[in-house]
C-alpha cells in the first residue's frame, strides 16, 4: 500500500489532529508529505500528551509521532510577503494541500483556492475546520468537546441523572481526518477524467453528525428524542447492555432468536426465551425486562470476563469485552495479528504504535516511521528544490519566515 501514491505530492499545512491524520493517511499510501509548520513552535499537536517518559518535549509527543510519521517538516509563516511567495511555490508543485487555518484566513492572505489553482488546475485543497468554511458558526471556536456537543453525539451519552459526556478520545478529529483523505482520493479520481481539482470543505461538525446512527431516525420517524440510558440500548436492538463481571465489564447483545436462545441457555435460564419472544413484537413489559437484566447480570457477575467472552462466542452470541488500553496491548488476538508495530525512535527508544487494521494481500503493512523534527527538511527543500541561497535562508530565518 505504501507505493500506491508514490508520484503524489501532498503539502500538509494543517495544525492539529484532523488535518495531520488526513495527510498521514495519504502518506501511508506512498504520497510525499511535506508538513509546513509555524516557525519556532511548530504544529500545536507537538504539545499534546502522551509524551515519552511523561516529559513534555517538542519532539516527544507520541500523538504527534503517530499523526506525522514519515512526513518531512518545513517551517514557514505564510502571513508575510516572503513566506507567501514560498507557500505559492510549494503549492505550485503539489497535488494536494491539506490546511486547517481559520476559515477565510488563506483568502485574506491572497492564497484562496482560485489563486492557488490558477497555475495548477488539477490542484486539490482539503480545508478542515470545526464548523466549515461558511455558515453562521464558521468563525466559532471549538474543540473535540464542542463538536461532540453540537453534533448531537453527546446528549444521549451517559446516565439520565448526570450530565451528558462525550465519547473518549479525539473522535471528531480523527474521523474528520479520514473524511478528508477520502475526499482527497475521490477528487483525485475525478480529476483523471475532468482534469480539474477542487476545494473540499471538511467540517468536523458534519463528519461527527455522520455518526449519529439511529438518533436521527428515532426522532424523525418515531418522534423519540433519544436520551441518556447508560449503556442500555433503547431501540432498535432488543437486547444490548453492559454488565459487570467478576473482574471487569462485558457488553451483551443479541439480534436473532437463535442468539437469544443461546444466551438464555448460557446463563441457565432457558425459560426466558418464551417471555421474550412472545413479547417481542410489542413493547416488552418493564417487569420482564428487569427479570431479564437481573438474570444476565447475576450470571455474569460470577464469571471472569475472558472466560465468559470465550464461552459466549463459542455459542455464537455476539458479546464483547470492555477492554482498557492495557487489555488491548496484551490481547492474544491483536498480538497474533501483529497489530502493534514497534518503532525504534532515534532519540527516545522503542515505542509500540497501533496499526490501521487494513491488510492488503501480497503487501506487508507499511512500517511505522518516526515523525520529523521541526524544520528538518528546510535545507533540502528550500535550497535544493526551490533554489533558495544560503544567504536568503539566513535572512528568512532571522526574519522568522522559516
Amino acid at each position: 500500500m505504501d507505493s500506491w501514491l508514490k508520484d503524489l505530492k501532498v503539502l500538509d499545512a494543517s495544525n492539529g489532529i484532523a488535518g495531520s491524520f488526513c495527510a498521514r493517511l495519504l502518506g501511508r499510501c506512498g504520497a510525499e508529505v511535506l508538513k509546513v509548520e509555524p516557525p519556532a513552535s511548530g504544529d500545536p499537536t507537538r504539545t499534546l500528551a502522551p509524551f515519552f517518559n511523561d516529559l513534555p518535549h517538542n519532539e516527544g509527543s507520541g500523538l504527534f509521532l503517530y499523526l506525522n510519521g514519515g512526513k518531512r517538516s518545513l517551517t514557514l509563516d505564510p502571513t508575510n510577503a516572503a513566506g507567501r511567495r514560498i507557500f505559492q511555490q510549494l503549492v505550485a508543485d503539489a497535488d494536494v494541500l491539506v490546511e486547517s487555518f481559520p476559515p477565510g484566513h488563506l483568502d485574506s492572505l491572497g492564497l484562496s483556492y482560485d489563486a492557488l489553482s490558477a497555475t495548477n488546475p488539477g490542484f486539490v485543497q482539503i480545508s478542515v475546520s470545526d464548523f466549515g468554511q461558511w455558515g453562521p458558526y464558521s468563525a466559532y471556536q471549538a474543540n473535540d468537546l464542542i463538536e461532540n456537543a453540537v453534533s448531537g453525539l453527546m446528549y444521549p451519552t451517559g446516565f439520565p441523572d448526570r450530565q451528558p459526556v462525550p465519547s473518549g478520545g479525539y473522535l471528531p478529529q480523527f474521523i474528520s481526518g479520514m473524511a478528508g483523505a477520502i475526499a482527497a482520493l475521490a477528487a483525485l479520481h475525478g480529476r483523471e477524467e475532468s482534469g480539474v481539482g477542487q476545494q473540499v470543505d471538511v467540517a468536523m461538525l458534519e463528519v461527527a453528525a455522520n455518526y449519529l446512527e439511529t438518533t436521527l431516525v428515532l426522532y424523525t420517524y418515531q418522534g423519540i428524542v433519544r436520551g441518556r440510558t447508560g449503556s442500555t440500548l433503547s431501540p432498535p436492538t432488543p437486547l444490548c447492555d453492559m454488565y459487570r463481571t467478576r473482574d471487569g465489564y462485558m457488553i451483551v447483545t443479541s439480534l436473532t432468536q437463535q442468539q437469544r436462545q443461546s444466551l438464555f441457555e448460557m446463563i441457565g435460564h432457558p425459560e426466558l426465551v418464551d417471555t421474550f419472544e412472545s413479547a417481542l413484537s410489542r413493547a416488552i413489559p418493564e417487569e420482564a425486562k428487569q427479570t431479564l437484566w437481573d438474570s444476565i447480570g447475576a450470571w455474569l457477575g460470577e464469571q471472569d470476563t475472558e472466560e465468559a467472552f470465550e464461552l459466549s462466542q463459542l455459542l455464537r452470541i455476539p458479546c464483547a469485552k470492555v477492554d482498557s488500553a492495557e487489555n488491548l496491548f496484551n490481547d492474544k488476538h491483536l498480538n497474533e495479528r501483529g497489530f502493534f508495530q514497534k518503532l525504534d525512535h532515534p532519540d527516545f527508544g522503542e515505542i509500540s504504535l497501533p496499526g490501521t487494521g487494513l491488510t492488503v494481500e501480497g503487501e506487508p503493512a507499511p512500517p511505522p516511521a518516526p515523525a520529523p523534527t521541526l524544520g528538518e527538511a528546510n535545507r533540502e527543500i528550500y535550497q535544493h528544490r526551490l533554489g533558495i541561497s544560503d544567504r536568503e535562508m539566513a535572512m528568512l530565518g532571522s526574519g522568522r519566515v522559516i
Binding site: G62, I182, L212, T215, C240, A320, A325, R337, P354
Partner: protein, 418 residues
C-alpha cells in the same frame, strides 16, 4: 438532494455491495453519494434485518414491512437493490456475471461466509482479474477471534472506546451509536479509493480486508499510546479534559438542557470570567494559573453552573462565542433540525421514499466545491432494480427473469424459508 450523478467523481465506478447492517452500507452509501453505481445484492430469505428496523409506524399492518425500516433508509440511499440467492448455482453465476463488469466488491459478513459461498477473491479474479475486493469482518481474517460474531453496539467495547467513556467515579459507558460502524465504513472507502489509484497506475486489482476492531483502535490512539509509552491506563474523564480546565457540560434553563464550555487557556478563562460578570473569579489568585484551575475545577464548575442555569443554552453559546470561547449547545435530536448552521449549510438531505414518504437524513461528511455529491434517490425498495440489473445490465430476457423468480433464485419480496 436531486444530485446529478453524471458529473460526480466516482461516476465510472460500479460496486457490487454484499454488505448488511451499518458498517458496510455506510461505506457504499458514501461511494454512491460520490457517484458510484452501487448494486446491493440482497438475500432472498434472510434479508438484512435493518430493513425492518424502526419503521415510522407499527409493522404489523403494513404490506411491505421490509421496505419501511428507517435504519435501512438512512444507510442505503442512492443504491440499487436486487434480490439474489447466492447459495444457488444460478445465483452464484449471476453474481459472477455482475462481478465481471464491476470495479469493486465489498462485503461485511463474518470471516467464513464468502468461502462457504465459493465467492472468495480467487473465484472473483477468474471473471475480473483487476477486481478490488474489500472484506470487513469485525475482527479481521486471521487470529483467534477471526470467526467471532459481533455488532458495532458491542464491538466498541473491544476498541477501548467504552472504557474511556463515562464518569471518573462510574462504570464504562457505551456510546450513543455504533461508532465503529461508520468508522469502519470510512476505513473501507479510504482503502478502496487508494486501491483505485493503484489500479489506475498499475492495472492491478487488490484484495483487502479490514479488522473493524483494529481500525477503530487506530483512531483512539492517544490513550493506547499512553499505555504503550508510559504504562498508564487512563481514567475516564466525564466531559472534562486531561489538560484543559474548566471544561464540562453545564446545566441550562429548561428540561435537561446543557451547554458545553471549554476554557483551553488563560485568554479563554479571562474572557469567560468577564462574560459571566465574575470579576472575583478573575481576581482569585488560586485560579490564575491553569494548574490551579485544573485542581479546583469542582468549585469553578459550581460557579459556572450557577451562571448557566438561569440562561438558555443557545444564549450561553452566542454570548461566549462572541468572546471567543469554545462553547456549544448539547444538541438533542430535535435541536439539530432547528440549528441555524446545519440549516444554512443544507446538511440534511430529504429523500422521498415510496413506502413512507419524505424524511430528512444526515448528509455528506464533506462538501466538494465542484461535485458536491449527496443522495440522488431514496433507499431502494426490496428488489426494486431486479429488472434493470438482470435484464438491462446482464441481458436476461423476460422469460429468464421470470424463471429466476419461479426458481426462488430472485424475488420481488422476501421469501419465507423452506
Amino acid at each position: 438532494m436531486n444530485v446529478e450523478s453524471k458529473n460526480l467523481p466516482l461516476r465510472n465506478i460500479r460496486v457490487v455491495d454484499l454488505t448488511r447492517y451499518w458498517a458496510g452500507p455506510y461505506a457504499t452509501q458514501l461511494m454512491a453519494s460520490l457517484g458510484a453505481e452501487v448494486i446491493r445484492v440482497e438475500a432472498t430469505v434472510y434479508v438484512d434485518a435493518v430493513r425492518y428496523m424502526l419503521p415510522p409506524d407499527g409493522i404489523e399492518d403494513t404490506e411491505d414491512p421490509h421496505n419501511r425500516g428507517s435504519y435501512f433508509h438512512m444507510g442505503n440511499r442512492s443504491k440499487n437493490s436486487i434480490a439474489l440467492d447466492l447459495q444457488t448455482e444460478r445465483g452464484r453465476d449471476l453474481l459472477l456475471g455482475l462481478v465481471s463488469i464491476a470495479d469493486v466488491v465489498i462485503e461485511n459478513y463474518s470471516a467464513r461466509v464468502m468461502g462457504n459461498l465459493r465467492l472468495e477473491y480467487e473465484d472473483l479474479v477468474k471473471v475480473r482479474p483487476d477486481i478490488i475486493m474489500m472484506s470487513m469482518p469485525s475482527f479481521g481474517k486471521s487470529g483467534p477471534y477471526r470467526d467471532y460474531v459481533c455488532f458495532g453496539e458491542a464491538l466498541e467495547g473491544m476498541t477501548g472506546l467504552s472504557h474511556m467513556t463515562g464518569h471518573p467515579d462510574g462504570p464504562p459507558v457505551r456510546s450513543s451509536g455504533a461508532y465503529t460502524d461508520p468508522g469502519s465504513g470510512m476505513w473501507g472507502v479510504y482503502a478502496i479509493l487508494a486501491a483505485l489509484q493503484r489500479r489506475q497506475r498499475t492495472g492491478r486489482g487488490s484484495r483487502m480486508d479490514l479488522s473493524q476492531q483494529e481500525g477503530f483502535i487506530g483512531i483512539l490512539s492517544d490513550s493506547v499510546l499512553d499505555y504503550t509509552m508510559n504504562g498508564r491506563i487512563r481514567k475516564r474523564l466525564g466531559a472534562r479534559h486531561l489538560s484543559r480546565a474548566p471544561q464540562n457540560a453545564y446545566r441550562c434553563k429548561g428540561d435537561d438542557e446543557w451547554v458545553a464550555i471549554s476554557a483551553e487557556n488563560d485568554r479563554h478563562w479571562e474572557a469567560l470570567c468577564t462574560a459571566m460578570g465574575r470579576n472575583d473569579l478573575l481576581q482569585n489568585p488560586r485560579y490564575r494559573h491553569i494548574l490551579g484551575r485544573f485542581r479546583l475545577q469542582d468549585e469553578i464548575d459550581e460557579s459556572i453552573n450557577a451562571w448557566t442555569t438561569g440562561l438558555g443554552a443557545r444564549e450561553v453559546m452566542a454570548r461566549l462565542q462572541a468572546s471567543g470561547i469554545p462553547c456549544g449547545i448539547v444538541s438533542k435530536a430535535n435541536d439539530l433540525f432547528e440549528d441555524p448552521h446545519f440549516k444554512e449549510r443544507n446538511f440534511f438531505e430529504i429523500t422521498d421514499h415510496p413506502s413512507v414518504g419524505k424524511f430528512p437524513h444526515f448528509g455528506m461528511p464533506f462538501k466538494m466545491s465542484k461535485t458536491p455529491g449527496g443522495s440522488h434517490s431514496h433507499a431502494p425498495l426490496y428488489g426494486e432494480h431486479n429488472r434493470r440489473v438482470f435484464c438491462e445490465v446482464l441481458g436476461l430476457g423476460e422469460n429468464e427473469y421470470n424463471r429466476l423468480l419461479e426458481g426462488r433464485v430472485s424475488a420481488e419480496a422476501p421469501l419465507i424459508g423452506d
